[in-house]
């Protein structure tokens, strides 16, 4: 009874809080402060056609590095938790999946993989980027795991790709301190022609690394769960 009363009070308080926010809400028609600067100067300063990318990778690059680190830590934690059980479990032989699924895999796997790679290579031109492309790559790996339950993807290879790309990401960031304006500054390389594939300095390189890292990380996480 008391518990219900507390729950009711909490609900009412939340309702009051949200009512205040919702009733005073007016849509902004102008950008404020720093976002105004990003919109006006971003394209010229960093040369990326997709403004979101230049904010995510360069202006707020440190946050992205933090996000990548968070993902790394959670993947590492999950595999640490899952490791203990594996020793006691014998390797199960699971029934092969049907002919249809296997045939679909051999047709769709390269296409999904290519799409993921396309998303992170074109991160500075079109919507999407390292995280999105990496997740698509991981879903291709997941499809492989589901369609061929008895084959596994080399864990060592995934680990090597992951740690190498993470390391290179930080190295590129430090290069920005030495050669350009600061940590993760993309103007280490030339900005190139606006809107072409080889443009926007380090942004495509960093996004390729992030994509590889996220893809291999999620892939190895799913692999750990499956084992």
């Amino acid at each position: 009874m008391l518990k219900r009363l507390f729950m009711l009070i909490a609900l009412v308080l939340i309702a009051i809080l949200f009512f205040d926010v919702a009733s005073n809400f007016t849509e902004r028609s102008e950008l404020s402060g720093i976002s105004q600067y990003y919109v006006e100067q971003g394209a010229e300063e960093l040369g990326a056609a997709n403004l979101v990318t230049s904010v995510v990778v360069t202006y707020r690059g440190l946050d992205t590095l933090g996000e990548v680190t968070v993902l790394f830590i959670s993947a590492a934690g999950a595999s640490l938790l899952l490791r203990r059980r594996r020793n006691t479990n014998k390797k199960l032989v699971v029934e092969e999946s049907s002919e249809i699924v296997q045939t679909t895999l051999s047709i769709m796997f390269p296409i999904i993989m290519l799409f993921g790679v396309y998303i992170f290579i074109n991160g500075h031109l079109t919507p999407g980027g390292g995280f999105q492309g990496g997740a698509v790559v991981a879903s291709a790996l997941l499809f492989f795991m589901l369609a061929r339950p008895n084959d596994s993807i080399s864990h060592k290879l995934l680990m090597k790709i992951e740690s190498l790309s993470g390391f290179t990401y930080v190295v590129l960031g430090v290069l920005g301190v030495i050669l350009a304006g600061g940590f993760l500054d993309n103007r280490v390389l030339g900005l190139g022609e606006f809107g072409s594939l080889f443009s926007a300095g380090l942004i495509p390189l960093i996004y390729i690394l992030v994509g590889l890292k996220v893809g291999s990380e999620l892939g190895s996480l799913l692999q750990k769960f499956r084992e």
């Binding site: 199960l92 980027g129 999105q132 698509v136 997941l142 996480l221």
Partner: protein
């Protein structure tokens, strides 16, 4: 029209989120939670945030659902038995 569609999607998010908490079957609840993510990602596309929509669709409704399903099958199977439902 667009506002109506957005509202409809938001109602969809709410209903599937509620279903995720109230459904008895674990698998159905997980799928329902994934459905909420899918509705959310369509909403993001309508609200002109394609970058967020891609992340939500791939991670929120795709990989998270699968991770939950894997975790469910792991916690259900008892050590020593080969049952895997």
């Amino acid at each position: 029209m667009l506002t109506f569609l957005t509202l409809l999607l938001c109602i969809g998010i709410l209903i599937s989120a509620l279903l995720a908490t109230y459904l008895r079957s674990m698998v159905a609840a997980i799928v329902s939670a994934g459905l909420a993510g899918l509705f959310a990602s369509v909403t993001y596309v309508i609200l002109a945030a394609p970058d967020v929509a891609m992340t939500e669709a791939a991670i929120g409704s795709g990989i998270t659902t699968v991770v939950f399903l894997f975790a469910l099958s792991k916690t259900r199977s008892k050590p020593g038995s080969k049952a895997n439902d």
